[in-house]
Symmetry: C2
DNA sequence: TCAAAAGTGTTACTCTTACACCCATGT
DNA sequence: ACATGGGTGTAAGAGTAACACTTTTGA
């Protein structure tokens, strides 16, 4: 499921076996978007319009079939690039969905979630790709609404103990901008003073000597410390 | 991969399509085992001996092929029962492994991890199922050593913020027994006094009026509060 | 000069940790 | 009686949260 157009078939050259279980890969991509009148930035994600049945015409997560010659991570990156043109800065496996009735034919979807910085958002002229606010999604194809809910939960959960917020920011940023990311994800205001101390204490930030100014006292510009891991570990890098 | 004997085929009645990607389900099952001279209990898991190639003769995680008519969770339960006779009290999806070279034929394994209480351990007379200490595993088939490492990491991680330790205990237990579970998983001693207060504070325990006695002051017997969730949420029960 | 955000200081409160000490049982 | 673990008390330290206050810019 979850593919939109163009190419795909797990075994190229063969007709798809409707009696077999097929493996698809989809990705929930989050970015931050500043809304006009809103007091906070909101989480947005791209959806693609399905061209064929099932659920033709409905919005769905970008994805496609797993090719027999590629690993899961590679398939996520590839299908993402093909459907949306996006190459995320952060990509992590979310969950494997495989309920029998989630699609008319038997499909197991390995779902990933990803983060991209606002400047990575490619505003493709493709009418079949559109960005939606995470809190105002239409009814999606298959079980994709549920999947997005779970991905959002994971994002909100993980932002508390991990440094993934960095995946949503440009290379250089002020503490106010970093705080804005946290506030958007957690949906609540954070005390600027306490936030500063907490994030400074982690050693993940490197202060630059540059400042960014508005109609107020200039704010120091920071970078991320590349030596600090972006997220916590996955199954593929086992540390002891 | 990861199947050991008996039945299996994703599409029964059809010959397996060697050119297609197949979906397998495996499970890492943990239980606690008291060793003779050891100061702490250790984590043990059952492995099954592979009967056919690839990796014939080697030990592997219990599992089998996903049937087209069953969901992933059901497949995990079924293959587990078929290979080991175990029906775990706690079962959760761990990760989907799908590197191209993890098996001679293309196999995507949806791996689960499970906990069972010591009294649930069925000591099957089957010579092809054996329990191993998690810290003294042989070289396993496929990437199963890596998978177990990751499952152990998840267990140790999750025990800190979740109540999964309960999955390893019988219905009634003393605080010392519960503490032993934590100590075994975390591989360090815990202060009995502080442990008591922390666990009492969570409201997950219901004191009974029964006591268990040894050559010391009798210890109160507790039960779990069934109203408190065993673990944190999964993707299938979305709470707002 | 004023508003607004940057940045510092301080205090109360909660949670964690270490450890002293009494309690109740079997041997 | 005494060893052993059950169970309570307490105090130091770390981390969190709330908020007063000073600094530095643009308008």
């Amino acid at each position: 499921m979850t593919l939109t157009s163009t190419r795909n078939q797990s075994a190229p050259g063969l007709t798809p076996d409707a009696d077999a279980t097929r493996v698809a890969v989809s990705t929930v991509i989050f970015t931050l978007r500043r809304r006009e009148g809103a007091d906070r930035a909101s989480i947005a994600l791209p959806l693609v319009r399905r061209m064929r049945d099932p659920h033709a015409g409905q919005w769905a997560l970008p994805g496609g079939w797993l090719d027999i010659r590629e690993g899961l991570d590679a398939a996520a990156s590839r299908t993402l690039a093909e459907t949306t043109g996006i190459a995320p800065s952060y990509l992590e496996q979310l969950y494997a969905f495989g309920a029998v009735d989630r699609s008319p034919t038997r499909v197991v979807s390995i779902v990933y979630w990803a983060l991209i910085r606002p400047d990575e958002v490619v505003d493709s002229s493709d009418d079949n790709v559109e960005w939606f606010d995470a809190d105002a999604l239409p009814t999606l194809a298959f079980d994709h609404n549920q999947i997005v809910e779970y991905a959002l939960w994971r994002l909100r959960n993980k932002v508390g103990y991990s440094r993934i917020a960095h995946g949503l920011l440009a290379d250089e940023f002020t503490l106010a901008e970093l705080r804005e990311v946290y506030e958007s994800i957690l949906r609540r205001r954070l005390d600027p003073a306490n936030f500063r101390r907490q994030v400074e204490g982690t050693g993940t930030l490197i202060p630059t000597d540059r400042f960014r100014t508005g109609s107020h006292r200039p704010a120091r510009v920071y970078r991320f410390n590349p030596d600090v891991e972006l997220a916590d570990r996955g199954p593929l890098d086992v540390r002891h």
